[in-house]
Amino acid sequence: MTFINGLKCRECGREYSKRAIAGCEECFAPLEVDYDYDAISRVLSREVISARPNNLWRYRELLPLEREPAVGLASGGTPLIRAERLGRVLGIRDLYIKNDSVNSPTLSFKDRVTAVAINKALEFGLEAVGCASTGNLANSVAASAASAGLPAYILIPHNLELNKIIATSIYGAQVITVRGNYDDVNRLCAELAERYPWGFVNVNLRPFYGEGSKTFGYEIAEQLGWRAPAAIVVPMAGGSLITKIHKGLKELERLGLLEEVGTRLFGAQAEGCNPITSAVKRGSTEIKPVKPATIAKSLAIGNPADGYHAARLIAQTRGWADDASDEEVAAGIQLLAETEGIFAESAGGVTIAVTKKLIEQGRINTDDLTVIAITGNGLKTPDAVKLPKPICIEPKIDHFDRVASGLAATV
């Protein structure tokens, strides 16, 4: 049973049939999946959802598949953790971490979008898939394509972290590094999608792909006991995730599964790539592209396609946005690890650092139920943190004793 009417332009409302398509052919804006919410509300309830397995397919009526999913079956269902120790450091009582650094199969929130996109590629009978990526999407598309038996062509900037390249190539994907930054890679990918009859997940599968991100929001609400948080802090690269979390919460409200959603959206970027936070701080929705220079490479999109929509929703929900320097990003990664035992990638450091600022600025109140979105795993970006070398000793008890008594330097 399907609940999808078709696709609809987010800006001009023009309707399209369900197919692989990059954007509105009239005004070029992104397309949204148009669901039959009345029909969904008749079959979906809190009880129905709660009785299903703990993965993103428990919300399947709100995802744009028309067949049973064949891959990504374990994606989603990640922990929401009460972060008391981090909350104490930041001076906030009701703090939670939504931890997609342990998502399946590739340890980032991109497993949510890929789960939808690769299944959609199979439904459309596409012979290969591809994407432009800052790393996490590359890992995820390569892994899911492998499990679907589809060839994958992955385009990445030439200077991407080694671990992210290894974690893509291992799946047998054709990895192509492109001389240039992500925005150059993305432009090339958009042009290739015009020439090759494949499913480029962030181009012609984009209307479907983005829907996977909604499950990040559904899960937060369900895990809070069917409550929407007062505030949520989300890292922004292209700007899509924050908008889809909001869409997910509003859908649950529309279906009567949540009371009125008053969640304020807070966006986080790196200082060296802050086109969306700059717009928000100017009180504008006009995105001025930048040339990225940041250790948070997964967020290094200087020309964010959903930036306008993200900035608009941040303003609409009375949220805010801020950015963090490379040093603050490294400190943020370390703070999260040392207080909550979660090793996040550089984007997580950005989000922690920005949350700290937002609380200090009084933009997030100390009694706001706040969720921080952690979207990727620290093992992918080990170079983002500089740690002291471990102490080396002989295999002798007295050597260890000296370490334990704080005399390490004399060993």
Partner: protein
């Protein structure tokens, strides 16, 4: 010599299915105006007004986004390649 402009699928109804069209050198604004004469409606499809591209479309001159150059006043030299590309998602 002339300059070559790559046209995305969404605009090919206007360019009578051509995926590449040619134009004489000039500023991006002049090139769009001249193409609007050959392909009626071309200008209004990609520009909100004379001074502004539509929000979800980007123009590149030899691979560089014109917003990093001189926007619609960017001079396009003979032999250059222009591309009109939809803004797309990423990560």
């Amino acid at each position: 010599m002339s300059i070559k402009l790559t046209i995305p699928t969404a605009l090919r109804k206007i360019t009578r299915d051509a995926d590449v069209v040619e134009a004489e050198p000039g500023t991006v604004r002049e090139i769009i105006a001249s193409l609007d004469e050959s392909f009626h409606g071309f200008g209004s499809r990609i520009c909100e007004d004379e001074d502004k591209l539509r929000r979800f479309i980007n123009i590149y001159v030899d691979g560089e986004d014109i917003r990093f150059l001189d926007n619609l006043s960017t001079r396009v030299r003979d032999g250059a390649e222009l591309a009109i590309v939809l803004a797309i998602a990423g990560g």
